[in-house]
């Protein structure tokens, strides 16, 4: 009986998602250090090179790495979709994306055209390979439920975001930053946040929240319409921004209303969950819900203040996406380690709670939240920026530690082979 075949058949090799998870917090650390060494007034301007570089260290280096990496793991479970040649695809797109994002950050900071060209090729090919592989695997899905629809919609937006991003990077290479650049940059950022990240999270939440916390299921209206309504809102907003700029507020209101409704629903479902546990992942769901609510409201009010608060909006909504992603990492990494080891026949493996030190996870959460609150108040008290950046950097170092810890358990168990117990499988054979 091919035992390892059973598990590798249903799940990709553990290295496929884990290489992304191990790298992502390092970009978080880099972002924290860059904030530390940058002046508060420079960061107030969303179009300053420093702001763009820091934003992309987080959005590409941290968020997209984890989101795309976890897709390799989630698609087989949530949708029965298997990514073609998952080992090869993730390996090469990972290398291309790492080289691409580092070159981009360095290239933009130093205005180095060669680095920007390398970034253009690396990020363009890396993202397009990964997204195409994900899209191809989604084509094979037969049971197209709300979660799969959400993921598919977010992948469509992701293609547009990448193409717009490449156009923006090309403007730096050709040294031609014109008015179209500003319009595309605005659409690129809004679609990336709401079209890719928020819609992807909504799709996955429909499934994950009721199941893992035994919370009430989402209503059929919510599951059927919300993704569609937000997508329509994003297209309306795009058309208004392009042709009737004075009416963009209506597009924003449309998007913000449904996003806020989602944030509130998450809070309520969580309050009605049947499982009594309240671990750091529940705290992250709560903080995500608060950040998203505040962020979507401020995005509307920002319209009346001539976009003075757009960076604050970015911090709040970024706080929402980061909260969800970090909370998810705390569940997924130890589980993957446990699942792969158990499927190989190792029986006395630490439980998933034992793989990550609870106190370190709590410290990581507190430092992370404190840093975001600090970033917001540093608008009024610029002195707060440095200490907040430090807090953010340490929280990312702790996160890296918390991701490495389970991976070390995996490596150590495989190396020392404490107990290779086949009896469970023998018993199974007899039962059949």
């Amino acid at each position: 009986m091919e035992l390892t075949g059973l598990s590798t058949d249903q799940a990709p090799p553990i290295s496929a998602p884990v290489r992304f998870f191990l790298t992502a917090p390092l970009f978080g650390v880099l972002a924290g250090l860059l904030i530390f060494f940058t002046d508060a007034s420079t960061l107030m301007n969303r179009y300053s090179i420093e702001s763009i570089v820091i934003t992309h260290a987080i959005t590409i280096g941290f968020l997209s790495f984890i989101m795309l990496g976890s897709m390799t793991q989630m698609l087989p479970v949530l949708a029965g979709a298997k990514m073609p040649k998952v080992g090869l695809v993730t390996k090469y797109s990972y290398i291309l994306m790492v080289v691409g994002v580092i070159s981009m950050l360095a290239g933009l900071l130093t205005s180095n055209t060669t680095l920007n060209i390398i970034a253009f090729i690396g990020l363009g090919s890396g993202f397009l390979i990964m997204l195409s592989a994900t899209a191809l695997s989604l084509k094979t899905v037969s049971n197209f439920n709300a979660t799969v629809k959400g993921i598919s919609t977010s992948i469509v937006f992701a293609f547009f975001i990448v193409l717009m991003g490449l156009y923006l990077l090309y403007s730096y290479i050709s040294n031609d930053i014109n008015s179209t650049h500003i319009i595309v940059a605005n659409v690129h950022s809004v679609w990336a946040v709401f079209g890719f990240a928020v819609i992807l999270i909504i799709g996955v939440t429909f499934q994950v929240l009721p199941m893992f916390y035994v919370a009430p299921k989402f209503k059929a209206f919510c599951k059927k319409r919300v993704v569609w309504l937000i997508s329509t809102g994003l297209i309306i907003w795009l058309l208004l921004s392009a042709f009737y700029e004075e009416y963009t507020l209506f597009g924003k209101l449309w998007i913000a209303m449904f996003v806020w409704a989602f944030a509130t629903t998450v809070w309520l479902k969580l309050s009605k969950r049947r499982r009594p546990i309240s671990d750091v992942t529940v705290w992250y769901w709560r903080s995500a819900s608060i950040f998203l609510t505040l962020g979507s409201f401020l995005w509307i009010f920002d319209e009346y203040f001539k976009h003075e608060y757009i960076v604050m909006v970015a911090i709040l909504i970024g706080g929402f996406i980061l909260s969800i992603i970090i909370g998810m990492l705390y569940k997924i990494v130890p589980f993957l380690v446990w699942f792969h080891l158990n499927a190989m026949g190792y029986m006395s493996i630490p439980t998933i709670n034992e793989m990550i030190n609870k106190r370190v996870a709590q410290a990581q959460f507190i430092l992370f939240i404190a840093s975001l609150i600090g970033f917001i108040f540093s608008f009024y008290m610029p002195d707060l920026l440095k200490v907040s950046a430090l807090s953010f950097t340490i929280s990312m170092i702790l996160l890296e530690y918390n991701v490495i810890a389970p991976v070390l358990v995996y490596l150590k168990t495989k190396k020392t082979k404490p107990d290779f117990d086949m009896s469970m499988f023998e018993a199974q054979k007899e039962l059949r």
């Binding site: 059973l6 009594p276 630490p350 439980t351 469970m424």
Partner: protein
């Protein structure tokens, strides 16, 4: 009439509810949770046997797939049986941390297992066994756990 998919999906939710009650009780006192933990284990065993001794067999006979999705699901059932036994042992040893570590591990394993069944296996089974759906559901309902 319940379809195979509806019948077994509803049973998943029923087991989840017992799981939640068990954790709640265990939070107050581990010793008090033993009865409900045993109940949870028994109900899960019943669910596993409804699948392994009835639905999976019918599916395997009809499709000829014995090493496909049902083999994977059987393996995960075995993993869960071991975890539930360890949970009972943790209660006997009055080790709360161990118990909650195991219950969290079981919860994630269980839910990703349920997702795979509800998203893939049950719709496939329903498709292949539609004509016999009523008979299979009634066989599962009347199953006596071994």
């Amino acid at each position: 009439m319940n379809t195979i998919k509806e019948f077994l999906s509803t049973d998943h939710s029923r087991c989840d509810e017992i799981f939640a009650v068990m954790e709640e009780k265990a939070g107050d006192s581990l010793a008090d949770a033993k009865v409900v933990c045993q109940e949870f284990k028994d109900e899960m065993e019943r669910h596993f046997q409804m699948e392994e001794r009835v639905m999976f067999l019918e599916f395997e006979t009809k499709t000829g797939m014995t090493q496909g999705p049902t083999a994977m699901m059987r393996q995960e059932h075995a993993q869960m049986r071991t975890l539930m036994q360890q949970m009972i042992e943790a209660i006997d040893a009055n080790n709360k941390d161990k118990f909650f570590g195991l219950s969290e591990t079981l919860m994630i394993l269980l839910q990703q297992h349920n997702m795979k069944e509800e998203q893939m296996l049950y719709p496939m089974a329903q498709q292949h066994l539609a004509a016999d759906s009523e008979r299979i559901v009634s066989m599962m309902e009347s199953l006596i756990v071994e």
